[in-house]
């Protein structure tokens, strides 16, 4: 089980704050592919992924129990 959290523009695009994938293991790239398939509006959006509150690379592996977050371009300050 992998938890996905959506923020800001990503939350509006997904229409939800979070959801759970019944996967044991996947790469960040695979997660993004899955998301783009589930929500075509994400295509072309500039997104980073955080795994357990740390920015992850596309090739990093996500394990069951991890909390992922879709991070649109930040605009704090």
């Amino acid at each position: 089980m992998i938890k996905i959290k959506y923020f800001a523009a990503a939350k509006e695009t997904a229409g939800k704050e979070e959801e759970v994938l019944k996967q044991k293991k996947m790469t960040v790239q695979q997660l993004l592919d899955w998301i783009e398939q589930a929500y075509p509006e994400f295509k072309g959006m500039s997104l980073q992924v955080a795994v357990n509150e740390e920015y992850a690379r596309r090739e990093d592996t996500i394990h069951s129990g991890d909390v992922c977050a879709l991070i649109p371009p930040v605009s704090g300050g």
Partner: protein, 148 residues
Amino acid sequence: MKPFEIVTKPIEVQKYMDYVLHPSAGAVTVFTGNVREWTKGVRTLYLAYEAYIPMAEKKMAEIGAEMEEKWPGIKVAIVHRIGELHISDIAVLIAVSSPHRKAAYEANEYAIDRIKEVVPIWKKEIWENGEEWIGAQKKYPEKGGKSR
């Protein structure tokens, strides 16, 4: 208070200045980012900030650690407010104390640059005729025109 925190209430400047001040500090710099009414000819009604709170606080603390390594002897506090913010409200505050002033200025400016790069906080601008999450690719509506 925590030295690196996300809050939902108005930010009290004095609290963070008091936190960084100590007997070896000869200089304190404070930066506040405030909600501005006009941006590129478009009038902002208010802003809505959202954060991935635990990660944002962690990233702000990391920025503080980077600063203390680059400018030894400084002490830092960073606070960002989320929720609905109105004109002139403080969105972000950075307080830095230092034995000498040069480091207090440099470190403070470094902090706001880094916050805008890495801290998972998002700003939505709400205008009279539309709204938009502000990201790397900023798009402003034409003056007087319709957004979206």
